[in-house]
């Protein structure tokens, strides 16, 4: 039988795949893809814990709903920044973007 905890394991795999990608990728767009993976894992966790602990309630449900909206807004702004960076510097690799530092 499937316990609901197994969903938490699946989302932990997704979360730490995202952590690995965030640490090893160089292209900023690939880093953003990893961030999306991590955000998605937390959303799945909210929904699964809501269903597991308090299945008559709705707190985790609405938190997931708002979290999806906020991550959509975040990725839209991030992609606008990436396109602007590419237009000015012709490169979006993370270790080439050092203009702001000095």
């Amino acid at each position: 039988m499937i316990q609901i905890e197994y969903i938490l394991i699946v989302s932990a795999v997704m979360m730490f795949a995202g952590v690995f990608g965030f640490l090893t990728r160089r292209s900023t767009l690939a880093i953003l893809l990893s961030i999306e993976l991590m955000l998605n894992a937390t959303d799945l966790n909210f929904a699964a814990i809501n269903r597991l602990m308090y299945s008559g309630g709705h707190e985790g449900y609405f938190f997931t709903l708002f979290s999806i909206a906020i991550s959509a807004a975040e990725s839209a702004v991030a992609i606008a920044i990436m396109i602007n960076i590419y237009r000015q510097l012709k490169d979006t690799t993370a270790d080439k973007l050092s203009k702001l530092k000095w």
Binding site: M1, I2, Q3, I4, E5, Y6, I7, L8, I9, V10, A12, V13, M14, F16, A17, G18, V19, F20, G21, L23, T24, R26, S27, L29, A30, L32, L33, S34, E36, L37, N40, D43, L44, A47, A48, R51, L52, S55, G56, H58, Y61, F62, L65, F66, I68, A69, I70, A72, A73, S75, A76, V77, I79, A80, I81, I83, N84, D91, T92, T93
Partner: protein
Amino acid sequence: MDSYNIMFFVLAGIIVASSVLTVVTRSIMRAATFLFFALLGTAGMYFLMGYTFLGAVQTMVYAGGIIVLYVFAILLTRGVKDRISENTRKKIALSAVLSLVGFGLVGYIIFTAKLRSEVLTAPDERVMTMTRVGENMLSTDMNGYLLPFEAVSILLLACIVAGVMIARKR
């Protein structure tokens, strides 16, 4: 093995395989495609838990909106030709160790925390109905979410304006 278990294993396999492939594949376009499958698998998980509205939102916003946005961004920048894993072996190995240790820790906590072990069954009427979602979203009483709803709408408006401002041609 009823159909719920079979669907769970299929979805879990899709999610695990495509999220690992998202971070190890070389081409960034393939990474976006695998991310798409991971997000669709998550939507399937929501449907399996009985949260159908959440699954529909996940499919529309993530799979329909964000992935299309990413694909456009990858094609507009030179992202397709980027070699995305040119790191030193030491750094990759350290990141893998960090991720595996973190996963082991979280898995250990999940299995020893003695959570209420509820078996995943077909959703009954305890799970949110569509009417209750709408009533909660637009009410101001104890279980209402009108204020965060309005705050999110202001945030989305600000993000639209900011996106246009940042990405426009000067």
